[in-house]
C-alpha cells in the first residue's frame, strides 16, 4: 500500500463530498465519482457519514432555535469568548517521615515498603520482605542487607564511606544512590546516581565500578560483572513508590513481580497467555486490579478464591 491517508485527510475530502451532496450538485446514490472515491478506502464511508451528520447536526440547531428572522446579508460579528483556563498547580509533596532514633535493625513484611532516613542524612528504602542492620561509625557507615532488597540514597561524606554488605558481597559508595538485592548466590547492584564500587569478600582486588544507569550481578564466588550497561534502573526501582512498571515484560514475569508483594498469589494456567507481553503501571499491592486489567485486555478468564487469582484463556468459540 502506498502512503496511508490520515483520518484528518479523509475527513477533509469527505467534507467536500458532503458539501456537494448538500448543495445538490451531485447525488449520493448515483454519482460515479463519489462511488469510486468511497470504494477506494473502506474508511471513507464512515468519514462521509460523519460529514453529512455534521451538516444535519447544524440544521438541528435551526430546528431547536425555531424561526430565526432572515438577515440582510449582514456579517455576524464574532463574539469570541476568551476562556481563561485557571492554571491550578497541584503540587503534591511527599511527606517525609521523621525518624526519632533509628533502630539498629529494620525490616519489612510481605507487601510492605518503607523509607527511613538515617542519622547521616542518607535514606534507605526497603522493599517487600527485606531487612537491614545499620551501624554508623566515626570513619565508616555500614549497612548489612540481611535479606531482600534495599535502595540507598547516600549523603555525601568523603571521610566516611558507605558500605553495604550482602552476604559475601560488598558495595561501596561515597555520595550516590543505588540498590542492592540479595539472591541466594549473589546480589544485584543497580545504580541510579553516581558511581559505586563492588566486590566479593576475599576478591577485593577484583572490584569493579558500576556507574549510574547500570546494573551489575555480583556472584558470591565469582568476580562481579556488569550485566546491563544501560538498564532502565529508575523503572526497576519503581517499587520505592509501591509501583510495578511493566515495559514489555511477559505476563509470567509480571506475575512473579506481583507475587513478591502479596500473599494472594496470581497463577497463570496457560503457557500462551503467560508469554503475552505487557506495558503498564500498577500498584504492587493490588494484584486484583492487575488481574482484571489482564482479563479485560487479553480476553482472559478470571477465577478467584481466597488464596489465588487464576488467569486462563477463554475457551475458543
Amino acid at each position: 500500500m502506498s502512503t496511508r491517508e490520515s483520518a484528518r485527510e479523509i475527513a477533509d475530502q469527505a467534507a467536500e463530498w458532503a458539501t456537494r451532496i448538500d448543495g445538490g450538485s451531485i447525488d449520493h446514490d448515483t454519482d460515479v465519482g463519489l462511488r469510486r472515491w468511497l470504494d477506494e478506502d473502506p474508511r471513507r464511508q464512515g468519514a462521509l457519514l460523519r460529514a453529512q451528520a455534521a451538516l444535519s447536526f447544524l440544521d438541528r440547531g435551526r430546528a431547536l432555535a425555531g424561526v430565526i428572522p432572515k438577515p440582510e446579508s449582514r456579517p455576524i460579528w464574532v463574539r469570541r469568548k476568551l476562556m481563561f483556563a485557571g492554571a491550578a498547580l497541584a503540587a503534591s509533596l511527599v511527606g517525609v517521615a521523621i525518624l526519632m532514633s533509628l533502630p539498629n535493625r529494620y525490616g519489612t513484611d510481605l507487601g510492605e515498603i518503607r523509607q527511613l532516613p538515617l542519622s547521616d542524612g542518607s535514606v534507605v528504602a526497603l522493599n517487600t520482605q527485606s531487612a537491614v542492620e545499620v551501624s554508623m561509625h566515626r570513619n565508616a557507615r555500614e549497612v548489612t542487607l540481611t535479606r531482600g532488597e534495599a535502595w540507598f540514597k547516600v549523603a555525601h561524606d568523603k571521610t566516611r564511606p558507605f558500605i553495604v554488605s550482602a552476604g559475601r558481597i560488598r558495595v561501596r559508595a561515597v555520595g550516590t544512590a543505588f540498590s542492592v538485592r540479595r539472591h541466594d548466590d549473589g546480589a544485584d547492584v543497580e545504580v541510579t546516581e553516581g558511581v559505586v564500587e563492588t566486590w566479593t569478600v576475599g576478591e577485593e582486588e577484583r572490584r569493579i565500578q558500576v556507574a549510574a544507569g547500570s546494573m551489575a550481578y555480583v556472584a558470591a564466588y565469582e568476580p562481579p560483572k556488569i550485566v546491563q550497561a544501560s538498564a532502565d534502573v529508575e523503572r526497576s526501582l519503581a517499587w520505592r513508590e509501591g509501583q510495578i512498571v511493566l515495559e514489555g515484560e511477559t505476563l509470567d514475569e509480571a506475575v512473579a513481580q506481583f507475587n513478591r508483594y502479596n500473599a494472594r498469589k496470581l497463577v497463570i494456567s496457560d503457557p500462551g497467555l503467560a508469554a503475552e507481553k505487557l506495558v503498564g503501571q500498577f500498584r504492587a499491592t493490588d494484584p486484583q486490579t492487575f488481574a482484571e486489567a489482564v482479563a479485560t485486555t487479553l480476553g482472559a478468564k478470571l477465577e478467584e478464591d481466597g488464596e489465588t487469582i487464576r488467569l486462563s484463556r477463554r475457551s475458543p468459540r
Binding site: 432555535a65 503498564g280 485486555t297
Partner: protein, 193 residues
C-alpha cells in the same frame, strides 16, 4: 426494512455526533494517547455507515462509547505488546448505557449553543454562507446570487467551513464536558425521572 440514508444521517447528526467530543476526551484519558484516536473514531463511524438501519440502537452516545471501546480492545489484542494501563477503568463503561437522558430542554439549549459557537468560530466568508445555508435554509445557488459570486466559490467556502466544523466537533467545550459528566457519573444519579 432498511432506513433511508437521510434518516440515518439525521440520527447520527442528532444522537452520535454531539457526543463525539466526550468520547474522544474519554479515549484520551483512557488510552493516554492522542494519535490513534482519529482512527478509532473514524472506524466507529464506518461501522455505523455499514448499517442499513439504526433504529435498534437505542442510545447513540452509549453506542459510541461501546463501539470505540471494542475497537481499541481489538487493536490492543492484535498488537504484539499490550498496553494495559487504565484498562481496568473500562469495567465501569457499561454504565454509559444507563446514562439518564439529559433533560430535553436543557440538552436542546446546550446543543443550540454548541451550533452557534461552531458557526461563530468560522472565518467571515464561511460563516456568512453557513448562516444562510444552515440557519436560513437558503440554497447554494441563491447564496451565490446574494453574494454576487459563483456557485463554485460558494461550494468551496462551504466545504472549507464544513472541514473546520468537523475539526471543531472533535474538541471539548462546555457542552461536552457537562454531557460527559452525565455519562461518567451516572451511577451516582437516580434514574427515577
Amino acid at each position: 426494512m432498511a432506513q433511508s440514508r437521510k434518516d440515518i444521517v439525521a440520527w447520527v447528526g442528532s444522537h452520535v455526533l454531539p457526543h463525539e467530543a466526550a468520547v474522544r476526551a474519554w479515549l484520551r484519558r483512557w488510552t493516554g494517547r492522542d494519535q490513534d484516536i482519529d482512527d478509532v473514531i473514524q472506524e466507529a463511524y464506518c461501522r455505523l455507515a455499514a448499517m442499513d438501519d439504526v433504529t435498534h440502537v437505542s442510545n447513540g452516545r452509549a453506542y459510541m462509547f461501546q463501539t470505540t471501546r471494542n475497537i481499541v480492545l481489538e487493536q490492543v489484542r492484535r498488537s504484539k505488546i499490550v498496553r494495559i494501563d487504565n484498562v481496568a477503568d473500562m469495567g465501569s463503561l457499561s454504565i454509559v448505557d444507563e446514562a439518564p437522558p439529559m433533560d430535553q430542554v436543557v440538552a436542546g439549549a446546550h446543543e443550540l449553543q454548541r451550533v452557534e459557537q461552531l458557526i461563530e468560530n468560522l472565518p467571515l466568508k464561511c460563516r456568512q454562507i453557513f448562516v444562510l445555508r444552515r440557519i436560513h435554509g437558503v440554497s447554494q445557488r441563491e447564496i451565490a446570487q446574494m453574494l454576487g459570486v459563483t456557485q463554485a466559490a460558494v461550494e468551496k467556502q462551504a466545504a472549507r467551513g464544513l472541514r473546520l466544523i468537523l475539526q471543531g466537533l472533535e474538541g471539548d467545550d462546555k457542552l461536552e464536558s457537562s454531557v460527559g459528566e452525565v455519562g461518567e457519573h451516572s451511577r451516582e444519579r437516580t434514574r427515577d425521572r
